[in-house]
Symmetry: C2
Subunit: 298 residues, 2 copies
């Protein structure tokens, strides 16, 4: 048994390469840790790191990286398109292999407790780790962003789960939690009209009557002169990728618009793609046991 | 680096469970070896084993299993629907991970040499290991089957590559070679007319002008009252699964027939399914590095 957990921390630094190098250093060349991906975005001024590891190794490295980020990022001077409330904005832990969601929740709480203590940082638990239902959704916690957080936290219902009851002056607040693997799946349209992408997103997403585990919004791809429906598949085991894709294709017809392609940002569990292939080929009685994996070990 | 080779030996025994247990015993509970699948078929009177391992461990286990099969199978008393020429009919080695086709060829030759010596068995090299072009195709070697092989081998062009120039009295001859992973992919049709499945197979397969790495024939599924196009994808990296599937769907239209499903028999490399999912979703810039595998290790 080899328990593997994934962590996808989002840091509010997408521009200064020196700072970024310091933040990701704790994930490099460590036993029990594999840094899979880093994506920095200058417009968003945000860094998204994808790392997997054994629970203990990942916990230690994550707390260290939070310290680095808090040391180099000052949110009072931070501007970017992506909403944010902390130098370390959000730290999701995702069960990957031989580990339950309950164990992932425990680790997220251990990281929240230790980081809040070491860095005097207010931490909110979210998603599966949330202490109350209204904190499950990250957007609810982050509403008001860094600039509004000091005021927001004066209300008793916004006391943090760990750390002091006021924002860290330069690092704001952080959300930590455990959640299902999330697949970032974007579908591109052959139009430049954002209202069409938004209209399709509204029909596809759960909140407006669409697919249960699908969040979506319209996004403009400036350089290509087109728009896309940007989707977060929040539980691919319940709502399949191909369902979202086909539903968007169907909704696009209303507007006489075509789907021209799609993209997966970051990682996707193999099962989500196998499920997709099995659907389109109409595979009968197919089992994941039949798949010879690329990174197979004896 | 962890070189992994696959072997899918076919033995001419699909009925006697005691004999089958003896044949597969050398693949069980061995370091460096993982027995993935065994399929025995009573009608074919044939056993297909799928095993992966490190080259050395697999070579040793394979030679041992050949000895067991030669000891318990007597082809003079063997009947079955599947064409066969030996107790150990065919032994293909398939590069799986961190290993080249040239290395797989070397291992196939080492197994052929050692088994022919130990068991006084004539061995023909085939596919990528073949010593001459007309021996690449297994069907050409096997033509005449066990019953015709003694006569066939009198011709100088059918001297075996290893071992004596005449058949083993009870075990016949064996073909050993290295080849690309082969995907057994069958597409089911909503008709019971075998001539339609055959007609579609002819249009899809390489030999009649179809896809380069596609062998196909019509097969009747007695119990379901339908027919299928049974396909061997001989190099899925060059001819994709979805190409074969869509071509069959297109050809089926000629007959007013529909595809009702498909099946993959045995193993399929992950890349073949990822490629399929990427095609149907129109994924742009997708890399296999983005896939979180199920049997992942740190």
């Amino acid at each position: 048994m080899n328990k593997i957990l994934e962590c996808v921390p989002n840091f509010s630094e997408g521009r200064n390469r020196e700072n970024i190098a310091k933040i990701i250093a704790p994930f490099k060349d460590k036993a029990g840790i594999r840094l899979l991906d880093t994506q920095r975005d200058e417009d968003h001024n945000r860094l998204v790191v994808t790392v997997i590891g054994t629970p203990e190794a990942l916990k230690t490295a994550m707390i260290e990286a939070m310290g680095e980020a808090i040391a180099v990022i000052d949110l009072r001077r931070h501007q970017g398109q992506h909403p944010r409330m902390g130098a370390v904005d959000v730290v999701p832990f995702i069960p990957v292999k031989d580990i339950t969601m309950a164990e992932a929740v425990d680790i997220s709480k251990a990281v929240a407790a230790e980081a809040s203590r070491q860095y005097n940082l207010p931490v909110f638990l979210y998603e599966a780790s949330a202490s109350r239902p209204e904190r499950r959704n990250l957007a609810a916690i982050r509403k008001g962003q860094f600039e509004g957080m000091a005021e927001k936290m004066k209300a008793p219902e916004w006391m943090p789960d760990y750390g002091p009851p006021e924002i860290h002056p330069s690092a704001g607040v952080t959300a930590v939690g455990a959640r299902m693997p999330l697949v970032a799946f974007n579908v591109n349209l052959d139009t430049d009209r954002l209202d069409i992408a938004d209209g399709i997103a509204r029909r596809a997403r759960h909140i407006n009557g669409g697919l249960r585990y699908c969040k979506a919004m319209g996004v403009r791809l400036q350089d290509r002169g087109i728009v896309q429906v940007s989707i977060n598949m929040t539980d691919y085991t319940q709502t399949a990728l191909y369902q979202a894709f086909e539903l968007i294709r169907i909704e696009a017809r209303r507007y006489g618009v075509n789907v021209v392609g799609s993209e997966i940002v970051g990682l996707v569990p193999m099962a989500a793609l196998v499920d997709t292939a099995a659907y389109y080929l109409g595979l009968e009685d197919f089992s994941a046991e039949q798949v010879l994996e690329t990174r197979l070990e004896i």
